[in-house]
């Protein structure tokens, strides 16, 4: 049971990053290989504000989110827009170029030594009916779910959300009714960057802040997004939570003979396996709709 709770917490982080990937893929058709690095960069910005400039936690948090949003919008307009309509390969290489450059920048500016970023939720642990839960885990789950709900409300009930959805589904017709499609897509990137920032800030307290922090998380996020359906936001969230719980359960089950082949090093390959199996068996994922191509 304990593993389920911890799994939900790490799953929440995967869900946030997976959501970012899904938003970007749905609106611009790009798989952003640099999403993890962007999240790492945002987390370092937050750390700098807190550790070097004495900001208090929540103001730093909000400022980082705002900066990440702007960064995401800028990235779309400057880097992605020129290659948007081009070949898949070109876009892949561009996002990979971003991955390399941002990772390099983080190392260049802040060095490779791990830093400490404290959790805003403190380090208490609660004992609920025999299950030991850390306050950080609870906080993570709460924040993750809270943001998902906020985002859902944004897309469902606001004009901007509607415009973004319209731009993703049918840019041509959206333009005809006056939606400024390019800006909507850029907003999508901004939102995704913000989600990534939250994911990074929530991850740093547990694993330590270093330049490679989000690389594994990115893979798990890919697996979650694929599992849930790469165009389905709900799927990304469910997929993330499921994956988090699954991986933790496997760790727990190693005490039983049936599962003792599993070890920590196999977490990533298991995620890979999830990606492969889902793509082969049901490419649209749990919640996605199968893609139909016109000939």
């Amino acid at each position: 049971m304990q593993q389920v709770v911890t799994g939900l917490a790490s799953g929440g982080v995967y869900a946030l990053l997976a959501l970012a990937l899904v938003i970007i893929h749905r609106s611009t058709g790009v798989i952003n290989f640099a999403q993890g690095e962007m999240a790492t960069l945002s987390t370092y910005v937050a750390w700098t504000l807190i550790a070097h400039h004495g900001w208090r936690y929540w103001p730093a948090f909000v400022a980082t989110l705002a900066l990440s949003f702007v960064g995401g919008v800028a990235t779309h307009r400057i880097v992605i827009r020129p290659v948007e309509g081009g070949s898949v390969l070109r876009i892949v290489i561009v996002t990979i170029g971003m991955l390399i450059a941002i990772n390099g920048f983080v190392i260049w500016q802040w060095g490779g030594e791990p830093q400490a970023l404290r959790s805003p939720f403190g380090t208490d642990t609660f004992d609920i009916g025999g299950v030991v839960v850390s306050s950080h885990d609870i906080g993570t789950i709460a924040v993750a779910l809270g943001i998902v709900v906020l985002l859902w409300a944004l897309f469902r009930f606001t004009k901007v959300g509607l415009a973004i959805r319209a731009s993703a589904v049918n840019p041509v017709e959206a333009r005809l009714v006056g939606v400024r499609v390019t800006w909507m897509l850029a907003l999508g990137w901004g939102l995704a960057a913000t989600l990534g920032a939250v994911a990074g800030i929530l991850t740093a307290p547990t694993v330590g802040l270093d330049p490679q922090m989000m690389q594994a998380v990115l893979i798990y996020a890919f697996a979650a997004a694929v599992l849930g359906g790469i165009d389905s936001p709900a799927g990304a969230v469910v997929g993330g939570l499921l994956l988090g719980v699954l991986l933790n359960m496997l760790s727990y089950l190693t005490q039983y003979d049936l599962f003792d082949w599993f070890s920590e090093e196999l977490r990533l390959p298991i995620a890979l396996l999830v990606i492969l199996v889902v793509l082969l068996v049901r490419p649209s994922g749990l919640f996605g709709r199968p893609e139909v191509k016109r000939v």
């Binding site: 893929h25 798989i31 290989f33 910005v45 700098t48 504000l49 070097h52 400039h53 400022a63 880097v79 020129p82 290659v83 081009g86 070949s87 898949v88 390969l89 070109r90 892949v92 290489i93 561009v94 990979i96 170029g97 971003m98 991955l99 390399i100 450059a101 941002i102 990772n103 390099g104 920048f105 983080v106 190392i107 260049w108 500016q109 060095g111 490779g112 330049p211 690389q215 893979i219 890919f222 697996a223 694929v226 790469i230 070890s263 090093e265 196999l266 977490r267 990533l268 390959p269 995620a271 890979l272 990606i275 492969l276 793509l279 082969l280 490419p283 000939v295």
Partner: protein, 372 residues
């Protein structure tokens, strides 16, 4: 420019190139010979990946994994894995392990080609990316077979040519690096010739048909399954050969010898070199080997305006000070590399081969438009 003439020019150029490669070591330092040996190794991998991505249009971000398979096959065949509790005792001379490395990797490629039939475009990129990222972890897990985290050391083993006794060919003694250079470049030239043979007739056309339009290809009778699997198998075999050579050149293999960065660089090399063009790949190989080194040595601080000096701090509101270190500081070369990559995708989306082709088109257009 009749096709016949172009072909003759191509042959002549190739012959010149072979001669150039053969005599180059006499003019360059020993260290540079080793560097160019690595360029040759990358070229082999790029030739293979080009068949898959350039000709058949399947994106693979995981060819480092096939190189790893080839490299480990080579190492295990040479040094054996008994010391870790594995079943094999090794003892095969390094040169003979190379074709076997290619074979094993090729089979793995064929095996992967089957499930890959269901994936395309971004999804295939994602799946292959995931494979390349998780391979080091999987390698560490199966220690008895692969030597786990510490890998397999080849230095000083009798199977590795030149490690215990000097290399002698045709009564001449070669330095170790020169031997490496000739080994990899003779393999590269053979690989190039084989690729050219594979690609020029039906098979090449079938590959390109798959890339350009799967629907049209199927309607013309080209079996998607067959050619996609074939492309995976061939490209994986090439990567395996490159991997085996890589293991020999490094004189060891461990899980970190074939990181995800390698897979990424290979794809970059193919795209920068130009998809579908064999000559551009040479530039691709040189690019992926030398750009990281070049950006390390550069001091791009000189590009900044005079008012900004090395070590200067700039106050950015909110974020505080931003210090300018030279680009040779850790992480700097990566920034340069990433930015160069993005710029290249903006400026030459078709790679170096694309530029060659444009030039060729311009030239032939002139000839045809002259009134006869």
């Amino acid at each position: 420019m009749t096709p016949r003439f172009t072909r003759l020019v191509g042959f002549a150029a190739f012959a010149v190139f072979v001669v150039f490669v053969a005599v180059l070591p006499s003019f360059i330092s020993d260290f540079k010979a080793q560097q160019y040996a690595y360029v040759g190794i990358y070229l082999i991998a790029l030739l293979g990946l080009n068949i898959l991505t350039g000709y058949t249009g399947q994106i693979s971000l995981g060819h480092g994994a096939f190189m790893a398979i080839g490299g480990y096959t080579s190492a295990i065949l040479m040094a054996g894995n008994e010391q870790f509790g594995g079943p094999l005792s090794g003892g095969l001379k390094d040169v003979w392990t190379i074709p076997l490395a290619g074979l094993v990797a090729g089979l793995a490629g064929l095996a992967f080609g089957l499930p890959a039939l269901r994936l395309s475009g971004l999804y295939l990129a994602l799946a292959t990316f995931a494979i390349a990222v998780s391979l080091p972890s999987a390698v560490k897990r199966f220690e008895e077979f692969t030597g786990g985290g510490s890998g397999i050391n080849l230095f000083g083993t009798p199977e590795l040519t030149g490690s215990l006794t000097p290399v002698e060919i045709f009564d001449r003694t070669l330095t170790y690096n020169d031997w490496l250079y000739y080994l990899s470049w003779s393999s590269a030239l053979v690989a190039f010739a084989v690729a050219w043979l594979i690609l020029r007739d039906r098979t090449g056309r079938a590959f390109r048909a798959v890339r350009d339009s799967e629907t049209a290809a199927v309607s013309s009778g080209v079996s998607l399954a067959r050619y996609k699997m074939l492309a995976f198998g061939i490209s994986a075999a090439y990567a395996g050969v490159a991997g085996g050579l890589y293991a020999i050149a490094n004189t060891f293999v461990n899980p970190d010898t074939f990181p995800i960065a390698l897979s990424i660089f290979l794809l970059v090399g193919v795209v920068v070199g130009g998809l579908g063009g064999l000559s551009g790949l040479l530039f691709g190989a040189i690019f992926i080997y030398f750009l990281p080194l070049w950006s390390q040595g550069q001091d791009l601080g000189s590009l900044l305006p005079d008012s900004v000096v090395q070590g200067d701090t700039i106050g950015i509101p909110l974020l505080g000070d931003f210090v300018f270190k030279g680009t040779s500081a850790a992480g700097g070369p990566a920034i340069v590399y990433g930015i160069v990559l993005i710029l290249l995708m903006f400026l030459i989306p078709n790679g170096v081969s694309g530029i060659f082709r444009r030039v060729g088109q311009l030239v032939s257009r002139r000839r045809y438009s002259r009134s006869s």
